[in-house]
Symmetry: C2
Subunit: 188 residues, 2 copies
DNA sequence: GACTCTCTGTACCGATCGGTACAATGTCTC
DNA sequence: GAGACATTGTACCGATCGGTACAGAGAGTC
């Protein structure tokens, strides 16, 4: 099928939402067939490796999205103010202002982490490295840049958790706004 | 049995570790019987409401621990520096410097949140209120105190996620240290 | 020792789990 | 239209899920 690539992307999107909503262990094949509109036959034809392959490909797709829209721009940017603002805007968009949960963070907390530790670690590692490289170019020392980048990732993850726990998306928005200021503050 | 209360505490501790390690949906009765050393008979005798009651009581016990060791001290403290340090030390101890995951945050992210939304929301709400009341006494305005307290909770949660994702407990320690400084900084 | 009453191990329940087998249906090529 | 091959729905698999039933062990009272 020529359209297979496109369809696979659609399926992965639907799979991502199921995993986000129910977690890796909670996403049963019944839920998956409902969300994707695909029977087991199609599902196992597309993903012979079963649920684990599905999750791995979903994580890879998320990684690809961030690589394209977040990481790469950070690496090539020359204007820190603009680059940070773009990153924050991208994050806000991706997480639907706090309504959407971070699947990577979710997997990290659960027992499925061991199966996907490389993907999980790599995602955050590349994000931190990309952001730190921008901050270094803006005048921070290497270690200052690393610390601030780490702070940024952790703030985003924490804001997602707290916003969801308290059912208040404004928490996420406030956190992103504070974070922007902290990232762009002059070196201490 | 006179020892029943004590034993129940032991059981709840074991239950907590199972839920932490496998999540609510991932914690099967098989894992639970292994972790607690209790057969299904005893389990359902102790918790007629089944898994949901177990989780609810575990959350309540966690809440009780924080109420005693974190929230209450914050409310009655008069020395902000000392109170913040004590809170941070308590948090560091409870989460084993980042090795232990926050069950409340974990539940918040998963689909079990709907069943425990009050417990989850209440836990964070009371923490934030207690911390904000201390910060207000230290000279901050009401809204400044609320914002800083929110920042503290979110930082702790995010640090737990990131530390686990990257398998690096030092991230948690660094975050707590930075957070202490931020909480005690003079009003902007 | 007989009577309670709390507690527990075991067998069992229907439902659902992730996964497989396979026949039937499409769709494309020639 | 014949043949090849990708795609799908459905029936089915053993294992495990959360939960129930219940007989009996254990401990306390008289």
């Amino acid at each position: 099928m020529l359209t297979r690539g496109v369809e696979r992307g659609e399926v992965l999107r639907a799979l991502g939402e199921v995993f986000r909503a129910h977690g890796y262990e909670g996403a049963s094949l019944t839920l998956i067939t409902e969300a994707t509109g695909l029977g087991k036959g199609s599902l196992y034809h597309l993903f012979p490796g079963g649920k684990e392959q599905m999750a791995a490909e979903v994580l890879a797709e998320i990684d690809g999205w961030f690589e394209l829209h977040i990481f790469a721009p950070l690496r090539i940017a020359d204007d820190p103010t603009r680059a940070v603002a773009a990153m924050i805007a991208g994050v806000d968009q991706y997480f639907h202002s706090g309504d959407r949960v971070c699947l990577v963070g979710m997997v990290a907390l659960g027992s499925a982490r061991d199966s996907f530790s490389e993907a999980v670690d790599g995602y955050f590692a590349r994000w931190q490295t990309a952001l730190a490289s921008l901050l270094r170019r803006s005048g921070l020392t290497n270690s200052q840049a690393q610390r601030r980048a780490e702070d940024a990732l952790l703030t985003i993850q924490g804001a997602l958790v707290l916003a969801r726990a308290r059912s208040d998306a404004k928490i996420f928005r406030r956190a992103l706004s504070d974070l922007t200021a902290r990232l762009l503050a002059p070196p201490a």
